[in-house]
């Protein structure tokens, strides 16, 4: 029989981690709750997942195509759409995850469960939208004459990387929002900045050379470049992806440390 000891020192990082091995069911039902609530009683339903990246694409495509942004051989509207499909998922996930501890205070204050599941489930629920948007993107690519190609089969792997980045950033944002309410207002703004710092609208080649060497340390840069490499069957920039791999691991470690530091007194802090 498991013996639990509770004292002031709280849980070790390791025993906190091991709690999450048994949270599969909770994770699933929280994500299902989010999905059901989001699309229940909406007329357009999952269609919103397609429209969300489509609208900014139309706006940016019509404005920026006159500026002759270099995107290699790709048509600019398709390039923008291929950036927005993963980005809208990551951006929405971080914005959506950030108020989860504050909004679920009643639950946090009355039931114990591994709390990081809350923001992570929000991210997982939005991943469904990301998948729908990507499916729509595949149709558009085919219409433009790119594909279908075999490398599309690797897209779920890139999606997984995007989910990891979004979960880490989401957990960090939710933890910070619980301590400091101002963060709630800052997150949407930071997410917007993050978009412009990532090659959503432009290609990595447009970044000034001295900065370009470190561009991969933005995890989203690697995700986007891997996503486009798979989508258009082009050669991936391995050094960029390697940098992003390292920075994603760093982001996850930071988010875990931040959350662990905060978790013990979460019910008192919120």
């Amino acid at each position: 029989m498991p013996v639990t000891v509770i004292d002031h020192s709280g849980k070790s990082l390791w025993s906190s981690f091991s709690e999450y091995r048994h949270t599969g069911t909770l994770f699933l039902f929280l994500a299902l709750r989010d999905i059901r609530l989001r699309y229940r009683q909406t007329v357009f339903g999952v269609g919103w997942a397609v429209v969300q990246p489509l609208l900014p694409m139309l706006i940016f495509a019509s404005v920026f195509s006159r500026l002759h942004v270099t995107t290699g051989t790709l048509p600019y509207p398709l390039y923008v759409l291929s950036g927005f499909a993963p980005w809208i998922f990551i951006g929405n996930a971080v914005t959506g995850a950030s108020p989860t501890f504050v909004n679920n205070f009643a639950m946090i204050n009355k039931i114990y469960f591994p709390r990081a599941v809350l923001p992570m489930a929000v991210v997982a629920a939005l991943a469904l939208d990301g998948a729908v948007a990507t499916a729509a993107l595949l149709v558009v690519s085919t219409w433009y004459g790119y594909g279908p190609v075999w490398s599309w089969l690797l897209l779920p792997l890139v999606g997984l990387a995007a989910v990891l980045v979004a979960m880490a950033a989401g957990v960090a944002a939710a933890s910070l929002t619980a301590v400091l309410r101002d963060i709630k207002n800052v997150v949407p703004f930071l997410v917007q900045l993050w978009m412009y710092a990532s090659p959503v609208l432009y290609s990595v080649e447009l970044i000034p050379a001295p900065l370009r060497r470190f561009a991969g340390f933005n995890p989203v840069t690697g995700v986007l470049s891997a996503f486009r490499a798979c989508l258009f069957a082009t050669a991936p920039d391995w050094s960029l992806i390697a940098q992003s791999f390292v920075s994603t691991l760093m982001l996850i470690a930071c988010a875990a440390a931040l959350f662990h530091w905060l978790e013990a007194d979460l019910a008192e802090r919120v």
């Binding site: 029989m1 498991p2 013996v3 639990t4 000891v5 509770i6 004292d7 002031h8 709280g10 048994h22 599969g24 069911t25 909770l26 699933l28 039902f29 929280l30 299902l32 709750r33 059901r36 609530l37 229940r40 009643a106 639950m107 946090i108 204050n109 009355k110 039931i111 114990y112 469960f113 301590v179 400091l180 309410r181 101002d182 013990a264 007194d265 019910a267 008192e268 802090r269």
Partner: protein, 409 residues
């Protein structure tokens, strides 16, 4: 080996109004912490120790603010203790609030799955117990409707049903047996009894002394965070009801966090007295009896009126307020007030009676405080009165001496 072992548990809160932590960016960049960081601290639990064996239903009693809920929150890992140690042998399930984690827009079935998952059940376990939960709750017909369309009774029943079926080795329950109609309460109490018989340990917080006496062999009585008495449930509840206790019939509130009230009014004392002004712990129901409330108005300008509720062990007996008097509508100036509600002779029935007092105001309707079980007194009966020469058991909570007329043809 005991199921729960609590050793020297202490929990200190920093009161939120004085919280030194940074609440916004301005605080973060301020070089000196704000002046209020002299931080008022509040000991919710102080050096609490006890053990609970397997198969035991253990009662936790005490007034509002005694630390009962804080104790259960520490045991369920929601709060972290300041000092001391807890050892739990087995999986812990807690039911601190019925329906916490329920979402109004989800259907009954969806909520069962989500809530059971929050409480720690695996998917296969939920599927196995689904029928049992649904049968217990009695909401079969409405299972696929959103719970926002449920009556509050149905909602409570479903929520309790989920929590009652998680079958942890240690179950923590806070005041939730008081939900639903009489029938469902009976069913819930039986369920807790059953859980205890299956070798699980149950820790039960309750205001209802009858429930504690029925379910628990042992109990602990907490007051202001400290253990007042621990052991046999009969003795512990007796000490809670202050039978033979020193401040039976009277209670004073001193400054600080324990005096109930807000910025406008604070409770200073409650007393049971007779016509001569003597404090009475034991009173003959055949004499006039006064409930005296002393309160201090800290801020002038609000029209205030107090109310009293008297409870017997079986439930509420009477409620009264002075909102009908001439001066309840006029704003009160600051200062101390003493109001006495006079209960005429031959009104109450005998037994242990508990008095709750509250102060309210209108426009906007507001309750400044409610103090449950503020004082306790023992009402005894002598030969005179409504009983006359009748010797049987009297069920009713009041026993006025009525005027009887007789017609005979």
């Amino acid at each position: 080996m005991s199921a729960v072992r609590v050793r020297n548990l202490t929990k200190e809160f920093t009161l939120s109004a004085h919280r030194p932590a940074h609440r916004n960016f301005k605080d973060l960049f301020r070089s000196k912490p704000p002046a209020s960081a002299t931080s008022a601290r509040f000991l919710a639990l102080e050096d609490v120790s006890f053990e609970v064996e397997r198969g035991e239903v253990f009662g936790i009693i005490g007034r509002n603010g005694a630390g009962k809920s804080t104790l259960l929150k520490i045991l369920s890992s929601i709060l972290r203790p300041t000092k001391g140690r807890v050892e739990l042998n087995g999986r812990v399930g807690s039911l601190l609030e019925v329906g916490a984690g329920f979402h109004p827009d989800l259907t009954g079935r969806e909520n069962i799955f989500l809530n059971a998952a929050i409480l720690g059940l695996k998917h296969s376990e939920i599927i196995r117990k689904l029928d049992e939960i649904v049968a217990f709750s009695g909401v079969e017909k409405h299972l696929d409707e959103p719970v926002k369309h449920y009556s509050s009774g149905m909602y409570m029943r479903l929520a309790f049903a989920v929590a009652a079926h998680i079958e942890p080795e240690i179950l923590l329950i806070d005041e939730v047996l008081a939900v639903g109609d009489a029938d469902f309460q009976k069913k819930s109490i039986q369920r807790v009894e059953q859980i205890g018989q299956h070798g699980q340990a149950v820790l039960l917080v309750s205001h209802n002394i009858q429930t504690v006496l029925r379910l628990c062999k042992r109990a602990v009585y907490l007051d202001q965070g400290r253990v007042v008495s621990l052991g046999n449930a009969d003795e512990v509840t007796a000490s809670y009801l202050k039978i033979g206790g020193a401040n039976r019939g009277s209670r004073r509130y001193h400054d600080g966090v324990y005096a109930p009230g807000d910025g406008i009014v604070r409770l200073r004392g409650v007393r049971v007295r007779d016509s001569e002004g003597t404090t009475c712990g034991t009173l003959d129901i055949g004499t006039r009896l006064g409930i005296e409330i002393e309160f201090e108005v800290l801020e002038s300008g609000t029209a205030l009126f107090p109310s009293i509720t008297i409870h017997s062990e079986r439930g509420p007996v009477l409620w009264a307020t002075d909102a009908g008097t001439t001066w309840h509508g006029s704003p009160r100036s600051a200062g101390r007030y003493m109001e006495v509600a006079w209960i005429p002779e031959n009104t109450l029935s005998d037994g242990v009676l508990r008095v709750a007092v509250a102060v309210h105001s209108f426009r906007p309707p507001r309750t400044h405080f409610v103090e449950h079980d503020a004082v306790v007194f023992h009402a005894v009966e002598t030969a005179a009165g409504a009983r006359g020469r009748f010797t049987g058991h009297i069920e009713s909570p009041v026993r006025p001496l009525l005027e009887w007329t007789l017609e005979h043809e």
